[in-house]
Amino acid sequence: MKEMLIILFSAILVDNFVLSRFLGICPFLGVSKNLKTAMGMSFAVLAVMVMASAITWPVFNLLLAPNGLSYLQTVIFILVIASLVQIIETVLKKAIPSLYQSLGIYLPLITTNCAILGAAILNIDNEYTFLQSIANSLGAGLGFMLALFIFAGVRSKVDHADVPKFMKGLPITLVSAALVSISFFGFKGLIEKLFG
């Protein structure tokens, strides 16, 4: 249990997917303009990330690894994740239309999102057990949400700031993203202190 908590919290804070591993930068910059879109996107990422890990772990450990096909993991994972998202979308549309409406365009956007694929591959690379993989991807999703929420706040502040003309738009966004990222380095060592 303690190990699970360590994995969960290091994925959220220390090894934050967006701010420390630099995965999923595209949606991070794309939808962090306001809190509403950030929320839709991060919930979609969280859900798909956990489900993708739950599917890719058995696919790898029961199908690919025993047959010596580990090198196929990237191709197969993308295939599995893309199909998974498609299936989730179809089911949601029928079963929970309101949720489908709010996740809306974000679901298809994350079919080949590198954060999702990254979570699936990192689970394998770190030789996590099934439950540890779930904890890791849950933490990664929550970390993504945290990063997106913080950055949406920062961005709405930056929007009202008097930015020099050459820094307007993407440059100032990237600079502020870097500053937020640096602030997350403050969490290094936190996990050892908490659980060690």
Binding site: L64, L79, V91, A95
Partner: protein
Amino acid sequence: MIINRIVLDSLPQYRQVLQAIVLSNEVSSVWLPVAVGSGIALVLGLIILLTAKFFAVPVDDKLEKIKGILPGANCGACGFTGCEGYARSLAEGDSDTAKCPVGGVATAQELSSFLGLAAPDFTPKVAYMYCNGTTEHTSKRFEYSGTKSCAAAHSLFSGPNSCSYGCLGFGDCLEVCNFDAIYYEKGIIRINADNCTACGLCVKACPKNLISIIPKHKNTYAVQCRNKWPGAQTRKNCSVGCIGCRKCFKACEYGAITMDGPLAVIDHEKCTHCGACISECPTGAIHNGLPSFAGSWPSTGKPEEAVSS
């Protein structure tokens, strides 16, 4: 076999690799990943097919058709979040087809005939700006060098204009207008009634609350002022402001003019467009007609000079 030989001879560096694949006993090592890959793809494809079949949602083509009739401006003037929202409400049995000011009469009629309803009572509307404080009529209290936005200027001592109720002319309304209906003229903005669809976005954008949606009438009479100062202070700060002299109030036989403190307000529903008020106004604050292009707007507001389009 000859072709095979040629390939093998012409590519000596790959000979070993090719031989390993074609000739060795390890042929199965090629087929296993192919089988696994296509197997997974086949299974996933089947699952997608099955879910698509079992979870199919019947598409409401009525909704799609209504969306096609609506202009797709997504301005929100109907009170819904966008055309999609209004279309859904109509598809679910809303019978008010006159809510879209952008599409106007034509859209309302088309919607009614599509939904099998009686033709709606559609009054065209237009956005009207209640300020004529151009640079000729007003002055500046201070030099403003901040962000070029009405909202920002308004938050700094109500802006640089001598009249703190007047148009600031930075064009927050122009920014939000989707229909190219707002133009600058002599330091203020004006609304081109020909292009205006009365979507109401500019009404929300104006920090001075100077724009209202009124019934569209080519002979609209309006007191083009919204200041609440006493007459003397108005006179000092703007030469075309309403000074609250009550002359028009007394001249109106139809009770269309009311006094909101020191400001005369014309009720556009009650106004009969007789023009009795306009000649009474000592400052020329009352105007006739709607502006449609730069220079089309009378500056004096006297009836003989008014544009009657």
